[in-house]
C-alpha cells in the first residue's frame, strides 16, 4: 500500500475537509508546491488559489483557499485558511456575479476572491 498523508483543511470557523490523500498541491507565495507522503516538515504561507488534493481512493478534491498556511509534519498536513470552500460548494453564478461587481467597483481583493473561486471550479 502506498503511503498516505492525513489532510485537514480547516477554515477559521469550521473544518472544511479531512481525509487521507496521496498528493496535495497548493500555491505558496514562492510558487506551487506539491506534498507527498514522507515530505520534509514544511510550513509555508499560502497565496489565495485553488488547492488540489488527490485522495487515496483516486478521487480529487479541489478547494478555493483565500490566504492561509500549509503545515506538514509526520505525514499530517494541515491547510489553514481564513476562508476555504470546496469546489462543490461554490455557486458559479454567484461567483461570476461577484466578479462582475468587483470589476466594476475596482475592488481588487474581492475580484481576486471571485477569480480564485471560478478557477477552483474550472480545475474540478
Amino acid at each position: 500500500m502506498a503511503a498516505e498523508l492525513h489532510v485537514e483543511l480547516v477554515a477559521a470557523d469550521r473544518s472544511v475537509w479531512s481525509g487521507e490523500a496521496n498528493l496535495v498541491v497548493a500555491r505558496t507565495t514562492s510558487g506551487d508546491i506539491g506534498v507527498m507522503p514522507g515530505h520534509q516538515p514544511l510550513l509555508g504561507v499560502l497565496e489565495s488559489g485553488p488547492v488540489t488534493i488527490r485522495t487515496s481512493d483516486g478521487g480529487t478534491v479541489v478547494a478555493a483557499v483565500h490566504g492561509g498556511f500549509i503545515s506538514f509534519a509526520d505525514d499530517k498536513l494541515s491547510l489553514l485558511a481564513e476562508i476555504a470552500e470546496l469546489a462543490d460548494e461554490i455557486d458559479v453564478q454567484r461567483a461570476e456575479r461577484a466578479l462582475e461587481r468587483a470589476k466594476s467597483d475596482t475592488d481588487a481583493a474581492s475580484e481576486r476572491r471571485a477569480e480564485v473561486r471560478l478557477r477552483a471550479v474550472a480545475v474540478r
Partner: protein, 304 residues
C-alpha cells in the same frame, strides 16, 4: 371591588406580564448558548493548528521577531476588553469590566501606559460615562460574532503592535474576556496575547510534543510575519465566541432568577389579594348583620 384589592390585582397583572417576558428571554438565551458553544467547537481546530504552527516557528527558528520577543522596557500596553451590547445579563459585563480595571491597575503599577480598546456597547458606555479615553471600540456583534468582526477588531491592534513605541505603538497586547467554563460557570479572564509566551502556548497545546524541524516557505521571518496577525485574529475570534457563549449563559441565569422572583412575587401578592378580598367580605357581612340588628332593635322599640 375594594380599593386595596384593585391595587393588588393590578400589580399581579403587571408582574405576570414581566414574568412572561423574562421567561421568553430565558428560553431564547438557552437556545443560543447551544449555538454559541457549537461555534466555539467549530473554531477550535483552526485555533489549535495555528497555535501549533506559531509555536513551531517561534521555537524552531532563531528568528527574532518584534512580536515574539519581549521589549526590554515595555512602555505601553494595549488592553482589549470584551463586553456585551445588551444588558439584562446579570453581572456579565460589569465583571469583565472589573477584570479589565484590575489588569489596568496592575499594568500601571508596572509603569506601563495603558491604551484601552473596547468591544460591546456596555463597556463603551462605562468608559464614556467616566470620560476615560478609549482608543477604539466596536459594537453590534457580541451576540453572534463572525470571523470578519474579529478581523476588524484585530486590524488596529496588530498595527499598534508593529509600530514603534515612540510612534504610538504598543509593546504588549492583553485581552480581557469572559471564559465559558460550563453552563453555570463563566470566569472573566485576562490573557497576554503578545509578545508570545511560548511556555503558555506549549501548555495550550497540551501534549508538550517535540516539534519537528520545519522547512519554511519562503522564509521563517516571512512565515512569522504572516502567521502572527492570523494568530491574533484567531485568538480574538475565539475570545469573542467564548464571550458570546458566556453572555448567553449569564443572561439565561439572570432571566431564570428574574422569572423565579416574579413567580414568588405573584404568589405573595395573590395571598395578600385573597386576604384583602376576605377582609372585604367579612366587613360586608358584619355591616349587614350590624345593620339588620340595628333595624330589628329599632322596630322592636317602635312596637312598645
Amino acid at each position: 371591588m375594594g380599593a386595596q384589592l384593585r391595587v393588588y390585582k393590578r400589580r399581579i397583572r403587571s408582574v405576570t406580564a414581566t414574568k412572561k417576558i423574562t421567561k421568553a428571554m430565558e428560553m431564547i438565551a438557552a437556545s443560543r448558548i447551544v449555538k454559541a458553544q457549537r461555534q466555539v467547537a467549530a473554531s477550535t481546530p483552526y485555533a489549535t493548528e495555528l497555535t501549533r504552527a506559531v509555536t513551531a516557528v517561534a521555537t524552531g527558528s532563531t528568528t527574532k521577531h518584534p512580536l515574539t520577543t519581549e521589549a526590554d522596557t515595555p512602555g505601553r500596553a494595549a488592553v482589549l476588553l470584551i463586553t456585551s451590547d445588551r444588558g439584562l445579563a446579570g453581572g456579565y459585563s460589569s465583571n469583565a469590566i472589573k477584570a479589565a480595571e484590575r489588569l489596568t491597575d496592575r499594568l500601571r503599577g508596572e509603569g506601563k501606559e495603558v491604551v484601552t480598546y473596547v468591544i460591546g456597547r456596555k463597556g463603551v458606555s462605562y468608559y464614556g460615562f467616566r470620560e476615560r479615553k478609549i482608543e477604539d471600540s466596536w459594537t453590534g456583534f457580541t451576540d453572534s460574532p463572525t470571523y470578519a468582526d474579529a478581523k476588524r477588531a484585530a486590524a488596529p491592534l496588530i498595527e499598534a503592535v508593529t509600530k514603534e513605541t515612540v510612534e504610538g505603538g504598543v509593546d504588549e497586547l492583553h485581552i480581557v474576556f469572559t471564559e465559558f467554563v460550563s453552563m453555570m460557570t463563566q470566569n472573566p479572564v485576562d490573557n497576554r496575547m503578545l509578545p508570545l509566551s511560548l511556555g503558555a502556548a506549549k501548555e495550550e497545546d497540551g501534549k508538550g510534543e517535540i516539534l519537528p524541524l520545519f522547512d519554511f516557505e519562503p522564509s521563517a521571518e516571512d512565515v512569522l510575519d504572516a502567521l502572527l496577525p492570523r494568530y491574533v485574529e484567531s485568538r480574538i475570534y475565539n475570545a469573542l465566541l467564548q464571550a458570546a457563549a458566556s453572555e448567553h449563559a449569564a443572561r439565561r441565569r439572570a432571566m431564570k432568577s428574574a422569572t423565579d422572583n416574579a413567580g414568588e412575587l405573584i404568589k405573595s401578592l395573590s395571598r395578600l389579594a385573597n386576604a384583602a378580598r376576605q377582609a372585604e367580605i367579612t366587613q360586608e357581612i358584619s355591616e349587614i348583620v350590624g345593620g339588620a340588628s340595628a333595624l330589628a332593635d329599632a322596630t322592636a322599640g317602635s312596637d312598645k
